[in-house]
Every structure is written in structure tokens, then in C-alpha cells.
Amino acid sequence: MTQQNHEQRIRVSMLQRFGFNFYDVFIFVLVTLFALLCVYPMWYVLVASVTPYSEFVKGGLMLVPKGGVDFQYYVAIFSTRSFLNSMWISVAKTVLSTVSSVFVTAAMAYGVSKTHVKGMKLINALVVFNLFFSGGLIPQYMLYKDLGLIRTFWVMVLPGVLNITYFIIMRNYYSYSIPKSLEEAALLDGCTEMGTFFRVVTPISRSMLAAISLFIAVINWNDYYSYMMFIGNKTNLQPFAWVLRRMLVDQTMMNQVRKGAMSLGSQPPPPMALRMATIICAMVPIMCVYPFLQKYFTAGITLGAVKE
């Protein structure tokens, strides 16, 4: 028994000399496999979407583009009018919603984080209650109808301005992550509440605000729910996420794009290849902000989550 233990120890130490042991290899392999599972589908779709038709139909793992790079599917997509229009709608919707949402939510979160001020606790409870209890789809629909918002652009912007999830995160940030002494010092030096907020608190919470802006922007870019529920069939208001969804599930939309491609002189592209090109188009904006997202989001998600 002890002999065996001794041998084991020697084996382990020998492996450690090479800088690894079986335990490390096991973890390395498992994590790598899972990471591949997360990333490979996107790579596959990217490669497949630029593979020429003759190679595409053969299938395969698509590790590298074979037979050259061919952007015909992208040309087909971008020559469809509703695509460009929907891009503009999405950009407008995302910018408007994100800017208003961050201003309104951050301001409210800061106010409510001052729990010693009368009424703030009640307001906080009212906001949080909504996370668990809401009217639901039909009551929302009825209200928007009464307000005249149904089938307008604004129904995609206004209802989401106060973001409850990020309200909670920001409130925790303001209550726990900003040193109390800093604000007190500012007030003591004769700074008003307003001056404290704009000149002391806001500058030091810049990175939190940047993180949350990005998160809210991604949510808005991906949102098609508000269009589907409350607008439905006004094609000039379609956000990009909705066009994307139609491309993926709706045969008529697909046929429209394929016909367009035929008039450009090529043979009708296979639906699957068009779908892949659409997926890539939808991923590009997210990929552009991803490096920034990643820089901030660890901070963003753990903000105020752990008591100091």
C-alpha cells in the first residue's frame, strides 16, 4: 500500500516537471470541447455562407472555405429592399431606446438608492414588484391601443424605457460601490445634490454606465417581440431582428429574396445558404461591440452582487 502510494507520488511529480498532469489534461479537453461547441456553429455558418454553390451542396465540416470565396448570397440579401429599410429602423430604435433608457433608469436608480429620503423605499418596492407581477400581454395591448401607440414606431421604444433589471443593478451599484465618504465630502464642501451627482458620482460611474448602455443596446437590437405583438404587419416599420426571423421561418420572404437573386442573373440560391448569410449579417453588429461588451460585462453582471 505505502509502496504504491510512493510510486504514485513519483509519477505525479514527474508529470509536474513537464508542467501538467492528467487532471489538467482532462479539464483542458473538457473546457476546449465546450468552447468549440459554442463557437464552431458560427464558424461553420460563416464559412458555408461564402462557399460557392458547387461546393456548398457537397456538405462537409466547412473548416476552411473551399473553391474560393463567393459573396453571391450577400448580394442577393442586400438587393432586397426590406433589408436596408429594416436596418435603419433597427438603428433608430436601438439608439433612441438605449439613450433614453440609460438616462431615465440611471437617474431613477440614483434617486432611489438614497433610501434615507422619504418615499424612495416605497418607489423601489413599486418598481421591483413589477418584475414579478405585470398585467401581461393583453392588458398591455389594451393600454397601448388606448394610448394610440399600436402600429406606430413608438411602441417599440417607449414601453421599455425604464428597464427594471438594470434599475436593480444600477441601484445596487450606487448604494454599495460608490464610497459614501466621497459624496459626503462633496456635500460638506458646499456642493449641492445636483453638483454631487453630475460632478462626482457620474464621472466615477462612467464604466458602469458604458457597460449597461451596451447591454441595453444589444437587447434592443435583438428585440422583435414589440414589433410582432403590437405592430404586426407594417412592413416599413420592420426591425432587422424581425426580417431575420422571417428569413429563417417564413417561406414567402425566402422566395422573395430568391426571386430577387434570379433577376440579378444567378440561379436561385439554396434557402439554407441564404439563411446562413442572413445569420451572419445579423451577427456582425453584435460582433463589433463584443470586445467592448466583454471588457465591461464582468463588472456589469457582478455589480453590487456581493456585499463588501
Binding site: Y23, D24, I27, F28, L30, L37, C38, V39, P41, V45, A48, V57, T105, A107, A109, Y110, V112, K114, H116, V117, K118, I123, N124, A125, L126, V127, F129, F132, F133, G135, G136, L137, I138, P139, Q140, Y141, M142, L143, L147, L158, V161, I164, F167, Y176, E193, F197, Y225, M228, A241, L244, L248, R275, I279, A282, M283, L293, F297, I301, T302, V306
Partner: protein
Amino acid sequence: MMVQQARSLSQDDLRKRGPGFLAYIRKYWFLYMLVLPGFIFMAVFDYGPMYGIQLAFKKYSPKAGVWNSQWIGLGNFERMVGDPNFIRAFRNTIIINLYNLLFGFTFNVFLALMLSELRLKKYKSVMQTCVYLPYFLSWVIFSGLVQVFLESPGTGDSGGLVNQLIVAAGGEPVDFLKRPEMFRSILVITNIIKTSGYSTIVYLAAISGIDPALYESAAIDGANRGNAIVHITFPRILPSVVIMLILQLSGLFLSNFDQVYNLYNNYVLSTGDVLSTYIYRISLGGGGTDFELSTAMNLIMNVMGLIVVGITNRYVSKLDVQGIF
């Protein structure tokens, strides 16, 4: 509901209380101003719709509108209980959520531990970049990816990659997305791929806060790395695990509309139809106009969800972790 620390009033506050309400408002006018826009949005768009809940107890007629429709008591709820599709959607919702808890939730903790055990710092950050990525793609894109991979061979194409592989290995192609018995597994697995990486962030943050000296002294005492995980790392992330568990439990009656709606089809309704998709189909989508039934279901879900949250929150507040609420 809140786990906030009440701050005692300062001397200054107490003095200013004297002159009364207006003086108080004047002192804190700026804070109230900050809260005001959000308060208005909350009142209009979050509490505004609540008057529509009365539809759950009414028979809706478009002519009369919400307020003037006729009261019918609990009739809608009786219809709801007698509706086999509702029962089915209710059961599916809970089963899928329990699966997500059993497989998804445990996998998140497992993945966080694995990531933290990677020794090469550079490699670890590359892996993190990879596993966080799918979280930021919408379910529309993600379900598009799923379809691209699982599609069955049709006329003119060889099907998705998975079926190509199955055929290459000599098997019969499977139409995964149309098989009811596979649909829940697909939901759980796609949910893991999409959200697991992101869910580890909370745990990794907790792990990074552990004092390295603990590991060093454990190693001197003869603990191997397995022991260190069990006796040092895991107990340290336990509070976060419990919080996340409770949060997930409180969503037991909620369903991921985005995921299910983008993946399901008529073939898999028996195992895949959940409450949110059913509520949508009978009211706004798919030609249904049963506004009352939809509202009644929503109300019941909300009330049951509140009960669960109420119960679980009592446990959260006892933990030494600042709750999200």
C-alpha cells in the same frame, strides 16, 4: 422584499424635518426630479396596463371596450382549468424548467469550476471569450443556427451537418426538430450552449475573491487539487450558487418565449408548447382572439410566481449575500 440596509437619519435630516413637507421637498428636490421621469414611465407602462386585468373576470366585447364589458365572475378560470391545452402547456413549462434546473444549472456550476481550474491564464481568457459569446446572439439567430445544423435532408440539399454525419456513418437521417420526444432535450441543450458561459461569470467572480493563501496552506497540509475544490472553492461559491438557484426557482412558472417560439412547430406542441407561447397563440398570434382566457392565465401565473418568490425570498434574506432585490 428588499435586503437593503436602512440608514439612520442624520442629525441634519432631523433638524430639517421641522418646517414640514414643502421644506423637505425643497431640500431634496433634485433627487425627486431624478426619480420623476422613471416614475412616470413606471406608472404609465408598468402599472398602466393593470386595469386590463379585469378582463380575466369579464366577457370581452370589442364594442364595449375593457371597462364596459360584462362581468362574468370566474367563468374564464373555469374554462382555463377545463382546457386540456392549458394543462399541457402548464405541465410542459414546469417539466422544462425542472430539466433546466437539473442539467443546466448544475452544468453552470461545473463549468465555472472547470474554467477556474485552467492553469494557463491566457488560455483561460480565450476560453471565456468563446463561451460567453453565444449569450449575445438573439434566440432568432441561435435557433437559426440550430436549424441549420439539425435540418433533415430535403430535395436538393444534403441536410444539416448533424444529419450529414449520421448519413456518412451509415445511419438514417433524423428530423430532430419535428420529433416530440426530442424537443425538450433540444431546448435544454441549446439553453446550456447559449447561456452557460455567461452564467459562470457570477461564480468566477466569487472564486477570484478567494484568498490564494488558503490553497497554499491546504497544499502544504497535503490536499490535492480535488480536495481543494471540495473544501475551499465550493464552500466559497455556495452563497452565489444558492442565490442563483433561488432566482431560477422563482421562475418556475415562467417560460422562455423567445427560445420556444423560435424553435417549436406544430409537430412538437405535445411536449414543447409552454404557457407563454400558448397565451400568445390564443390571443394575438395564430388567429386567436381569446383575450379573456389569455389574461386569466397570465394572472394565475403571476400570482403563483409571486407566491414562489415570496417563499424563496425569505431564504435569500437570511444569506450573507446582497440580494438582487
